[in-house]
């Protein structure tokens, strides 16, 4: 199949950048979206042009490295799918596809489609862990955990930290990510004891990193490749309220 890509090219952080069109006549419906970029890059390299820089690692939808806003939707049109797992059969032959980087003040462009997502790391550094060494996986019967809590914690823990929620949010908010991480820890006994300081530290780091405030529009959960539910944000807000209440 033949596709036309309009890709955001930007030499470096200081460059202004712009959309550049490329034809890829030799695409196949079985390729993933990243393989499409590989094919394009091979051709660009052979003809002595600079290949398109983009992030990727596992290519199996588990690491959170890949990104790309494809035709205006982070991770493309397929629901609950990372860009690396998005296949070209979901596009029409002859289609023109716009490819842009995540857009947020907290995610400055490094080059082309690569952005610096370390703002998310700073939120984790602030509180996305348990401060005491809790050892390896505990014996399952030692600490009973309600099934509903275990399920909800696991669901939240599937967040791969890709940042698509930020890219989709009209306010550039990272609340879905932040709330997913805090929920996953706060629902389990090892993490629950520090939940007050955790949520305070995490929302502080979130705001410091220049992410915006949440308006509960739900754009984030619609594009999240792991389908993290919007409910984690309500839980996080409740935890912040609780921390304020107990704190003073």
């Amino acid at each position: 199949m033949k596709l036309t890509l309009r890709i955001w090219r930007q030499k470096g952080p200081a460059d202004r950048g712009g959309m550049v069109a490329y034809d890829v006549p030799d695409a196949s419906a079985d390729m993933s979206f990243l393989e499409l970029l590989d094919v394009l890059n091979e051709r660009l390299t052979e003809s002595g042009e600079e290949p398109v820089a983009f992030d990727h690692d596992c290519r199996e939808g588990i690491c959170g490295a890949c990104s790309l806003v494809i035709d205006g939707v982070p991770h493309g049109p397929q629901k609950a799918t990372t860009t690396c797992q998005l296949h070209l059969r979901h596009f029409r032959d002859g289609q023109t596809i716009d490819v842009e980087p995540w857009r947020a003040a907290a995610f400055p462009v490094v080059k082309d489609l690569v952005v610096d997502r370390s703002g998310l790391d700073r939120i984790i550094e602030a509180g996305g862990y348990v401060t005491a060494p809790t050892g390896s996986a505990p014996e399952a019967h030692a600490t009973p955990i309600a099934k509903a809590d275990a399920d909800a914690a696991f669901e939240a823990a599937t967040c791969i930290g890709c940042g698509a929620c930020v890219a989709a949010c009209p306010n550039g908010s990272a609340m879905l990510f932040t709330a997913a991480k805090a929920t996953h820890l706060g629902l389990l006994p090892q993490g629950r004891v520090e939940q007050d300081t955790r949520v305070e530290a995490m929302i502080h780091a979130h705001d410091e990193a220049d992410f915006g405030g949440c308006t509960n529009t739900g754009e984030c959960t619609a594009v999240c490749p792991k389908g993290i539910p919007l409910g984690v944000i309500g839980r996080f807000n409740g935890d912040v309220l609780g921390a304020l209440w107990r704190g003073r």
Partner: protein, 237 residues
């Protein structure tokens, strides 16, 4: 392989002491001030329906509002307490809206070349401009029916006369319709957003809460619009 989770060098989080100024706390302030306005708006809508019971019923109701709590509180005392609470709520609500909007603009300095709305409702997308329309309308509305200077008659202590004088003009009915519809959209997302902001919901109740928000917004819109339209078509007055 199982490894020992080691605490990072900066172990032992201290209270940041800054979360009382965080975006979440700003949203909590919006939600609480919004809830105060919501309670008032609901009572206001129900009070307006008194007009369908005739002139004396409506005017008597307006008079009663000024005498609540007498003689414990002075004449119009309760009314002024309500007005103070409403003013404080509007100030907090708008201040937070402005701060959060400025933050949101800063958080996305470069726009997407191609960006269709994925799922966000029309109501969610129009909260800010809708809010501005409501704020302007509130000023006009107070000048019209509280102060009276913008009313065709402006008779003091005769709300029935003033209301019917208003809506005999189609353009005044049109202004009120635009504003009330804007309020309706604002309430649709506002009520939903408030339940998210004020904490924990049981999972799976999202759809129910969204329906309740829509139902409430529709009832409020219809309730408020019933009065101007009843006057315009001649059922009242």
């Amino acid at each position: 392989m199982a490894t020992l989770t080691r605490a990072p060098a900066s172990a032992g989080r201290r209270r940041q002491g800054a979360s009382h100024r965080s975006t979440v706390v700003m949203k909590i302030a919006m939600a609480i001030s919004g809830a105060v306005l919501l309670a008032y708006l609901t009572a206001h809508m129900l009070g307006n329906l008194k007009i369908f019971f005739g002139e004396s019923s409506f005017d008597h109701y307006a008079h009663w509002l000024r005498t609540i709590g007498e003689p414990l509180v002075p004449h119009e005392g309760t009314l002024w307490i309500i007005r103070a609470a409403l003013t404080a709520s509007v100030v907090v609500h708008m201040a937070m809206a402005i701060l959060l909007t400025r933050r949101a603009r800063r958080a996305r300095p470069v726009k997407y070349a191609h960006r269709p709305p994925v799922q966000g409702s029309y109501a969610a997308r129009t909260m800010r401009w809708g809010g501005v329309i409501i704020a302007l309308f509130v000023v006009y509305h107070l000048l019209d029916l509280t102060v009276g200077v913008a009313n065709p008659v402006g008779a003091s202590g005769k709300p029935y006369t003033n209301v019917t004088a208003d809506f005999e003009h189609w353009y005044i009915t049109a202004i009120y319709t635009v504003a009330v519809v804007a309020v309706g959209f604002h309430l649709r997302h506002g009520v939903w957003s408030m339940t998210r902001t004020l904490g924990r919901q049981r999972p799976g109740t999202e759809r129910l809460i969204a329906r309740i928000s829509t139902g409430y917004a529709v009832l409020m819109t219809v309730g408020f619009l019933s009065v101007p339209f009843a006057v315009t078509v001649g059922i009242v007055g």
